[in-house]
Assembly symmetry: C2
Homo-oligomer: 428 residues x 2
């Protein structure tokens, strides 16, 4: 039998799907036990259709979604347009028309996932999205299948290739943020508006999805505090190196006794931590669990072929389940009621970079402020003063989010101190 699919969009990733289907036809057909055919491809308008045909792409391009939805031969709709709309409308209509869905759309799933999953479940249809988190890394299905017997306690992830490329250049080559961004844009890694990548929004979308698979809890995007890399200075990078750390933008989801906490923030990682050597545009997900202990899944977070590989694995799985008559199982069946951790329960070491007047007693005053919140110092570094001001770097012992908030408020009230940056520090 031939299972027919409809592709929505024919951008970089989408064109990788027919490439893999052709290149690995024999292996894929053995795994799927049926052959897979791209029956129709939805493109924006006639101009795009003409352009693609002229470029030698030999597909049945259509410009109206109805031509795919009304085609009873098409069993699977593969959405690779990205962004919320019209993807959301098209997927909703495709589910209503009885089509199984494969998508790589993390924005959509992070924000409207519950709704779409509920519809798919109601209709007994598959909704798979391995490629939505960390592109080529098969982390979602691994959490479902291989960690089924395990209990995840924490996930730390380098989840955004663009910001990781920029930070790698800032660390290895001493580049400024501005130079790193400009280069990332020139290389096509960053868009002209880089906000989603550099402010941790893209990584926060992925953290929402990872929370569901690893902890069975559906956090909202708004529950994921996110902080980006745009205010990291060469001084921060240099101090991190001096103290034995590497700065990475890390998605951190952990379960405490009161619930789960998810955030994305620049984090000092000890140099010997497996995530510390994840460089360039690569991604990695580091999992702490009571069974396996520590494991890490490393690979490209984006790109045509890696993403298409994850998408095609989802397609194969659907075709196989159609054959086995086990279709309709949710991609992730692990689900518990959402409980968010109390801020007093979420603990970490922290780095503070503070500018103070170069005069007697400033260290004493700073110590008094931290001490009043019962925060103790692990490392202190005073950098060469310029006669007027000095830069103080403090790494604290473990403290809670509540303590962090309180001490930050107190420091803001002191006219002598200006907090330049506060970053999380992962203990050894």
């Amino acid at each position: 039998m031939v299972v027919k699919i409809g592709l929505l969009g024919f951008g970089t990733v989408a064109s990788g799907v027919p490439f893999l289907l052709a290149e690995n036809a024999e292996k894929i057909e053995k795994a799927a036990q049926d052959s897979i055919e791209v029956a129709k491809v939805l493109v924006k308008d006639d101009a795009e259709k003409e352009r693609l045909l002229a470029a030698g792409h030999d597909y049945n391009f259509v410009t109206n979604i109805d031509e795919i939805l009304a085609d009873e031969d098409i069993a699977i709709v593969v959405e690779l347009m990205g962004r919320i709309e019209p993807a959301k409308t098209f997927i909703t209509r495709a589910l209503e028309a009885g089509k199984h869905i494969v998508t790589a759309n993390k924005d959509l799933l992070a924000v409207h996932g519950s709704e779409l999953r509920a519809l798919a479940e109601e209709k007994g249809l598959a909704l798979y999205y391995e490629a939505a988190v960390a592109g080529g890394i098969p982390i979602l299905r691994t959490l479902v299948n291989s960690l089924a017997a395990d209990k995840v306690t924490r996930i730390l992830g380098v989840l955004n290739g663009t910001s990781n490329f920029m930070l790698t250049k800032m660390v290895d080559e001493g580049w400024t943020y501005e130079k790193a961004l400009q280069t990332a844009q020139e290389l096509g890694y960053a868009e002209s508006d880089p906000t989603n990548d550099v402010e941790g929004i893209d990584a926060a979308y992925k953290a929402v999805i990872l929370s569901q698979f690893a902890f069975g809890m559906t956090v909202d995007f708004d529950h994921v505090a996110h902080k980006g890399i745009s205010n990291i200075t060469p001084e921060d990078v240099a101090v991190a190196q001096e103290l034995g750390y590497v700065i990475k933008l890390v998605g951190d989801i952990q379960e405490t006794t009161t619930g789960i906490s998810a955030e994305v923030s620049p984090t000092f990682l000890p140099k010997n931590h497996p995530l510390a050597s994840v460089n360039g545009v690569m991604n990695a997900v580091f999992v702490e669990s009571i069974g396996i202990g520590q494991s890490m899944y490393y690979g490209p977070g984006a790109g045509q072929k890696p993403t298409a590989t994850s998408v095609t694995a989802d397609i194969i799985r659907i075709v196989r389940r159609l054959k086995d008559k086990t279709i309709g199982k949710a991609f992730n069946e692990y689900s518990r009621p959402l409980q968010l951790a109390a801020p007093s329960d979420v603990k970490s070491e922290y780095y503070f970079s503070i500018v103070a007047p170069d005069k007697n007693g400033k260290m004493l005053r700073l110590a008094e402020i931290f001490n009043s919140e019962e925060i103790s110092f692990k490392q202190i570094l005073q950098q060469a003063a310029n006669g007027e001001t000095a830069r103080l770097v403090i790494v604290t012992h473990e403290m809670s989010k509540t303590q962090l908030e309180n001490v930050t408020a107190k420091l803001a009230q002191e006219s002598d101190f200006t907090v330049l940056n506060t970053f999380k520090v992962l203990g050894e």
Copy 2:
């Protein structure tokens, strides 16, 4: 419904299975959709049974395999005794009695896997063994499911925790092989007879299994050339560091135009290669493929809970498939006729450590020998001579196994040269 399992053996790993079943009962039952119960546990004799009962282990211990095989309520037999016999006989008999099998027995699967898989297939029974390769790392199921659309071209693996612990100490602390071995034995990482670990035999067993999952080809254990770490000297370690490499014992399986080649050997890895920072008892499998490109799966290669996590994931999968009525599919369905690569087709850079008389013309003679086999030098290092002999270190450009064999034979004929060591070098 309750699915009952029979455990064969109650060593470290086996006792981790009931721990996980209890600790994660709720999540496991959701994933399996039935509850799982350890009905009987086979132990060696009455003395062991009494000892375990006295230690507070509250199981139905039996000393005769027939009590498990004849028990119609037991659906799954979990073999965790290790070694070939009596494991092979017990698994064979269990399959004949209609039981599904989960095992972590790499020795058995590498040597007698084909036979056992054929029997399981004939009987329509499951034979799963995720834990047999790299303990807690879910590499086998990931290759089956997530790389279904991909074509693997090379696998490089740090597959033996004991030897990796030893090499890490030799590299980081400058320990000798002897000191590293003694410490590994004291810590319980190495057995009193460490042959399987340090000579690459254990890693070669795992390479046999990985070849089936990644390349669909069943190589025999005898096809996997293996070389261990016992002849690595502190001088080799120091030179590696000087040249920017780390020495690891690496399982290397690759597909060339003529077929596949699998071997286990000490390998110089560039310091920035993801495998280079896999330290201590940790394992990792680095996969090169046409779709994903480069990905790596990192975690503990052994240990009670990691291994039990993989075993329990296999059990859950069987229970779920019993429920879904899709039981009996082979763990790995990817299969192609075996084709072994021609030695002239398997290429790498190589490191040679050679002792030569400290006299004129030795470098010329050496260059002549390598040149006669069309092997060119990438790096040459002459170490301080002691007046009588000098140590020459050569890193070659890429050359084939055939060239390696020829040049090694020629060097052996030269009375002036003694080749101390030859190791593979992974190019950047």
